[in-house]
């Protein structure tokens, strides 16, 4: 089986022209490519950081607002500076990029510029032909981010090829890579977020990340985010586009396609999570794809410390609630979009449902889309408090 090509696409800063890239993204995934879409109005720093963390083979930039010669060159330069010049850069801009411009851009290290009138098939062929080969291994020392990113790829692709790296192998690697970072706190706390599609998981996580980052200027967070693979095709991994606060040097984010596995996670999730949990982050956040009623994504993963089920108030009748198995297992249940009319009913119905479980489950209402939402503040506090008590317990034991 050939491994899916992973590429990152984005539109430069101060440019909102996303119509072309949306069309191209769809065409790419139709041809088996996994596209991490970063969205529009994106800085060079955001693009390069994401490309490294996601370990993509190439970056495709769609620019329609001018300044492309500088912008593309800055991306190439920053990749080089970060030791990631194996990541290639290509792009286009309809008629705004002239043939002369393109020649200059190629001289500055851009692989290819597509002009107006290029068919989607031509672009897809180009990507498959030029970025389909496995990466050449690099002998010189890699940055911490690159090492971690490559390791994650190794796990993901190893599984796809039927090889599973042993847990020990990961442990040793992670120790080696972390080496000089040991001064920070010990193992990460792993928080799992799940829930139906459209409940607002991504936005909620991003709002929490903002609070984590603000609370402590040294805190580091990893995010493992999942999006479904299209049957027999690639995947559009688009969470980064909405997670504006998570595009930060203290956040390591990885987007994974489910690659044919049901249940909201990827076959490689467990091992990737194990690696991240030992890689010296304070928090590792894992987000499943939108799940159905029977899903129990974190059950066999002993690694998740705290599970959060994010619900949409519009789940249907009370009977539907009885069927959601995750309600029995989640540590915290969040009713997001609690500004919707149905939210009060939802809250009391879910509250009753949780009371039957007789576990110490918490129920919180949030409006994640709202800046500084007090519900998200409460959820954040709860997660932090839980953290403190856990640490406290650990200290008592030792």
């Amino acid at each position: 089986m050939t491994l899916p090509i992973r590429i990152l696409t984005a539109v430069p800063i101060c440019d909102g022209h996303d119509s072309a890239i949306n069309t191209i993204n769809l065409e790419f995934i139709r041809h088996g490519i996994e596209v991490i879409y970063l969205g529009y109005h994106r800085s060079v720093g955001d693009i390069v950081r994401a490309a490294i963390q996601e370990d993509v083979r190439a970056i495709g930039i769609s620019s329609y607002n001018g300044g492309h010669i500088e912008f593309f060159a800055e991306v190439v330069d920053l990749l080089r500076k970060r030791g990631a010049s194996d990541i290639k850069v290509f792009g286009g801009g309809g008629g705004t990029i002239t043939h002369d411009d393109a020649a200059t851009m190629r001289r500055k290290g851009v692989d290819q510029i597509f002009f107006a009138g290029t068919s989607l098939a031509e672009m897809t062929d180009y990507v498959r032909k030029n970025y389909g080969m496995p990466r050449k291994t690099q002998s010189r020392t890699k940055s911490w981010d690159i090492e971690l990113a490559w390791k994650l790829t190794e796990i993901e692709d190893g599984l796809a090829k039927g090889k599973r790296l042993t847990f020990n192998a990961q442990r040793s690697t992670s120790k080696k890579t972390i080496g000089n970072r040991q001064s920070a706190i010990g193992n990460a706390k792993v928080i799992g977020f799940t829930g139906p599609g459209g409940a607002g998981k991504t936005t909620l996580i991003d709002e929490l990340v903002l609070r984590f980052l603000k609370q402590n200027p040294r805190r580091r967070i990893a995010i493992l985010s999942h999006d479904p693979s299209v049957v027999g095709e690639g995947a559009l991994l688009g969470d980064r586009a909405t997670m504006i606060n998570s595009q930060n040097d203290r956040v390591f984010m990885r987007s994974m396609a489910t690659r044919g596995q049901a249940g909201g996670l990827s076959p490689a999730t467990h091992d990737c999570l194990a690696l991240l949990a030992q890689s010296n982050f304070d928090y590792v956040i894992i987000e499943t794809v939108g799940t159905g009623q029977e899903a129990l994504p974190f059950q066999k993963n002993g690694i998740v410390d705290l599970t959060v089920l994010v619900m949409n108030p519009d789940y249907g009748s009370r009977l539907q609630l009885q069927k959601i198995v995750m309600l029995d297992l989640a540590d915290i249940v969040v009713v997001n979009k609690s500004d919707l009319q149905r939210a009060r009913t939802a809250h009391s119905e879910i509250e009753q449902r949780l009371e039957q479980n007789r576990r110490d489950q918490r129920l919180i209402d949030t409006v994640a889309k709202r800046h500084r939402d007090s519900g998200v503040d409460r959820l954040f506090e709860l997660i932090c408090r839980d953290e403190r008590s856990r640490r406290g317990k650990a200290r008592n034991k030792s």
Partner: protein, 607 residues
């Protein structure tokens, strides 16, 4: 039911009313006689004009009808130009001689321009403004200023239309990370009030012959405050009530299509309403919002989606302003519209139908008086229809679109330059675009002799009926989703537009939508066109950054105080516009955006 549902209902009710009038005219003899009398009076009062070849023509063309039912159908269903429901035009006369001088683009041709000027001067009463308005903005403020003076050197009225560069449109400063190459590209770079002063230097901002249009939405309230403050620096505070012009400030279409939103939707709408509350009270001649379908169309919507989303956005704004307590007759006349005109058949009547729906909705659902019912429209020919391959064909495309725009009786129009797919238009192609309008309006006899020259053909009527039905269907769909804001947050309009865009692209690729020179009659090899590009030199970009640094250093202390005050006012939920007016004196655009984002958050993109 949200207001939008009421509007759909009002239009249907009005259509029923028209049918009832038609029936009544046929059985109620007295009513019928009155109608015939009125009809004959209108015809008798219509002056006759003569074409250069000597042909006499009425200045207002009317259908050849004498049966009371049909007269009722015309007068109530369409209305004379300038009469409710305004299907045929917002005003009684438009584009007609002797008001026919489109004097833009006479670069260096003094003789022709002087002749035109004499005619204008000799015309006693002040003739209406020219409908031509050309969009311009490049490099730094002084460069755009020079272009403005060049464009208007022979114009009687100075209608400047300003394009801003990317960093300005996103409310960030020229010294922000990674934007250097974007400074002055695609529009003018504005960071501070000092840039704004330079931008309009030498123009009499308080003159009744001057108006400024600013195409910016996300940071519109900040830019508006900068404009007012800059005008005050030059002309004192007495100039404020005299300021004329338009600022785009359309947040809904940004979220739906153009992606230049910088604050969360609700906060953006709040700042907008703050500005509208201020300007409609203090600047009665200013248009504080231009409700824009253009970018919706450019993002790939169908023409019906464009009209339906634009109108529904307009009704949602009206609802919001009314909820703030601004009287409908204060804000209603200060709303204006901006539509795209492409080559699809819908464009034969898209603006006509929009004008009618707006008038009925504002009158019957919002209680607006006659001035608040007018759908005042600026049209721009479609930029998306222009392509790079064999780009000179773009002249023909734009000409056909101009024809459609004027057939819809647009109040003003911008014609795109054929080189737009490549760059900010260059002077040669701007001149051709401006002259395209002059040829249509001044040289040809299509529009200058007779109002209604092309209105009301059976084909146009068929398009009107089909388009109106489709727009009302869209209204009902948005209504089902809980109104405009709820639908926007649900990404409804956005995903509809994207679907339409994908279909359009697909049609080009599979050839079902012929694009001459691209997928049909293609001329073999793609020859790279030789076009002189308007790029901003690095030196100028550096100059902008240096100026900004100086400004920030000079005002550092005052800026902190102004920003603290602004933040506190926003925090308290008060109208922040007066605080913005103070802040722009000492703070840069980026500093103010950053301060506001600290309080209300940043916009989270929808993908």
């Amino acid at each position: 039911m949200s207001k939008l549902g009421q509007v759909a209902e009002a239009v249907e009710k009005y259509n029923q009313f028209v049918l009832a009038q038609v029936k009544r005219a046929r059985w109620d003899e007295k009513f019928g006689r009155e109608l015939i009398k009125r009809w004959n009076e209108i015809k008798a009062k219509t002056p006759v004009t003569h074409t250069p070849t000597g042909l006499p023509l009425p200045r207002l063309a009317l259908p050849e009808i004498d049966e009371p039912g049909e007269i009722a159908r015309y007068l109530f269903g369409e209305g004379l130009p300038g009469e409710f429901p305004f299907l045929n035009g917002a005003y009684r006369e438009m584009y007609l001689e002797p008001v026919r001088k489109i004097e833009t683009g006479n670069y260096g041709k003094k003789t022709l321009a002087d002749g035109a000027k004499q005619k204008a001067d000799g015309n006693g009463a002040r003739p209406p403004e020219e409908p031509t308005r050309l969009f311009s903005g490049l490099m730094l403020a002084e460069d755009t200023n020079e272009r403005f003076h060049y464009l208007t050197q022979h114009q009687r009225t100075h209608r400047l239309s300003t394009a801003f560069d990317g960093p300005t449109l996103y409310g960030i400063d020229s010294d922000a990370d990674g934007v250097f190459g974007k400074i002055g590209e695609g529009g003018v770079a504005i960071d501070t009030i000092e840039d704004m002063v330079r931008l309009y230097d030498g123009f009499d901002l308080g003159s009744p012959n001057f108006s400024a249009s600013m195409t910016i939405s996300g940071p519109a309230p900040i830019i508006m405050a900068m404009y007012i403050a800059a005008a005050k620096r030059h002309f004192g505070s007495k100039v404020v009530p005299k300021l004329r012009g338009t600022i785009q400030a359309d947040i809904f279409k940004e979220v739906q299509a153009q992606n230049e939103t910088i604050f969360p939707i609700e906060a953006s709408l709040r700042f907008l309403t703050d500005m509208v509350e201020f300007t409609t009270r203090e600047m009665p001649r200013w248009y504080p919002i231009s409700i824009s379908g253009y970018h919706i169309g450019e993002a790939g919507s169908t023409p019906v989606q464009q009209a339906a989303y634009t109108l529904s956005n307009g009704f949602a704004y009206a609802e919001m302003f009314a909820a703030r307590g601004i009287p409908v007759d204060q804000f209603g006349p200060r709303l204006s519209f901006f539509l795209d005109c492409g080559l699809d058949a819908e464009y034969i009547a898209l603006a006509r139908v929009s004008r009618r729906i707006w008038a009925i909705g504002m009158r019957d659902a919002y209680g607006a008086g006659p001035r608040g019912q007018l759908f005042k429209l600026h049209t721009q020919t479609s930029g998306r229809s222009l392509i790079a391959a064999e780009f000179k064909n773009n002249l023909t495309r734009t000409a056909a679109e101009l024809m459609l725009a004027y057939m819809n009786a647009t109040n003003s129009c911008h014609s795109n330059s054929a080189d737009e797919p490549f760059t900010t238009p260059s002077e040669e192609w701007i001149r051709l675009a401006a002259h395209g309008q002059a040829i249509l309006l001044e040289e040809s006899g299509i529009f200058k002799h007779t109002m209604n020259m092309l209105s009301g053909s059976p084909g146009m009527k068929a398009v009107e009926r089909a388009v109106e039905r489709a727009i009302l269907d869209e209204f009902r769909e948005i209504e089902r989703l809980g109104g405009v804001l709820a639908a926007v947050e649900d990404r409804f309009q956005r995903s509809q537009i994207q679907n339409a865009a994908h279909r359009y692209e697909q049609q080009i690729y599979d050839g079902t939508r012929p694009i001459i020179g691209l997928n049909k009659y293609r001329n073999g090899e793609d020859v790279a066109p030789e076009i002189k590009l308007a790029r901003t030199p690095r030196k100028k970009q550096q100059l902008q950054v240096d100026r900004l640094a100086k400004f920030k250093k000079k005002n550092a202390e005052k800026a902190t105080r102004a920003l603290d005050k602004l933040a506190a006012i926003v925090e308290r939920g008060e109208n922040c516009f007066p605080a913005l007016l103070e802040a722009v004196e000492v703070c840069s655009l980026g500093q103010i955006t950053g301060c506001l984002q600290e309080v209300v958050g940043r916009f989270r993109p929808m993908v």
